[in-house]
Symmetry: C2
Subunit: 260 residues, 2 copies
């Protein structure tokens, strides 16, 4: 029997996590440790300076007899994985960690800010096979039917593959019905960033304050394998990321040229 | 004249940022946009759901005539870089971004959680040459004299080198006097993670709560180039990191083996 750990960054109340719990309960027992409050844009943040509350929210049996147990934590996605590993999976690792389904894309440099993927990073540090799943639709009632149709096919491949230690997957689905999807592509992290990132306002006392907003701009010149561009063109994208972010080419360059 | 942007994650009041401002004012005009409150462990978190306050704190002229301008922002290190780029460096990029000096090591997987390095990641997204500097000493009155002695030599090399776009440096100093330092090494992100990550307590109402704490454990088998081990052995370590965290070996593996 597989033991599956689920978390996300949109909190335990989001539609995306409910959909993925139902889908993954087909594959094994599911333990959810999810943030009590939304944690979007939190990256791999951890809560060092505030106490955390950890509570059992619900347990039930899925239609196939698999168990589903849902906990909430007043912390970040990274905190949730740490709590699961320290309190629930003390002796045996889960067989799989899935974070999501996120309401909103985590393609391109979005991967760097993503709370969803931070849980996959944390899982990878613990040597758990880890996946982040997102849909390019921020709405609370986003349509996840393409995930329900296509993710099982991706998981069939995943369970047959031994990825390198230190590698996790970032899977992004376009905002469309299953029929409109053009295919599934292995991709790389596309290049892009945000611009016009703040909106300045004046408070009732005449003082300025700022809201983060911004527009994404593509800075990629290659378009055939950049995840955000494939996603825009209605492909499901799968990017393997690694937790070792050393640039080994630069290691060689600095070793040969620098006088230290 | 060089224009230098400085931020950190320990806030504008920390000793580390004061030391680096003084050191870098030797090289050019310095603009500081630093968090108003400490932001340790915040990774590349951005503030999406709260308004930010941005204020000029202080301006003065360094002994050599270079200008120093210090702003505070009620946000994360990543927010600080974004604000600097949106509000202060609208037409010209800074010539250099330095984040630090952090009170505490950011070696090994600490790099993934680091607020200090998140500023360097953000700077790299903007194509600014970016560096994070940390000392393996969490105390408020940490000794930064080794940085003052050795960082200028590292910067001399850095200014002569064209690193690949998308690469930033993570420089860690051991906790010791300049005399006790064994040397400066180009290194890679070492392997390790935390264990025993929470301390459980009971509140006055009988309910449990948790503080994050934890012990770092080494999981690296190679010791000659792992940054955290070199650091422990009193070397200054320089790791070039990249913002593209795609694992290209796995891209090839999945492309040839998966049926999608």
């Amino acid at each position: 029997m597989r033991e599956i750990l689920i978390t996300n960054d949109d909190s335990y109340t989001s539609k995306g996590i409910k959909v993925i719990i139902k889908l993954l309960a087909e594959y094994g027992n599911v333990t959810v440790v999810a943030p009590k409050e939304p944690q979007s844009g939190k990256s791999v943040a951890v809560t060092l300076n505030a106490p955390l509350r950890f509570n059992l929210h619900e347990t039930y049996t899925h239609t196939n007899g698999n168990k589903v147990t849902i906990y909430t934590l007043t912390g970040t996605p990274s905190d949730c994985v740490k709590m699961a590993m320290n309190d629930l999976f003390v002796n045996d690792l889960p067989d799989l960690l899935v974070s999501g389904i996120n309401h909103g894309s985590n393609a391109s440099s979005g991967a760097l800010y993503s709370g969803t993927l931070s849980a996959a990073i944390e899982g990878t540090l613990y040597n758990i096979p880890s996946i982040g799943v997102s849909v390019d639709d921020h709405s609370a009632d986003a349509d996840f039917s393409a995930v329900e149709t296509i993710l099982p096919k991706i998981l069939d491949n995943y369970f047959k593959t031994e990825l390198d230690k230190g590698v996790y997957l970032n899977i992004n689905f376009p905002k469309c019905s299953p029929d409109a999807i053009k295919g599934v592509k292995i991709a790389r992290q596309g290049k892009g960033r945000w611009t016009k990132e703040f909106e300045r306002r004046i408070d009732p006392h005449g003082k300025p304050y700022y809201w983060m907003s911004g527009e994404f701009i593509n800075t990629d010149t290659e378009t055939t394998d950049a995840d955000h561009i494939l996603l825009e063109n209605k492909y499901v994208t799968i990017v393997p990321h690694k937790i070792d972010t050393t640039d080994y080419n630069s290691v060689k360059l600095l070793e040969s040229n620098w006088i230290l």
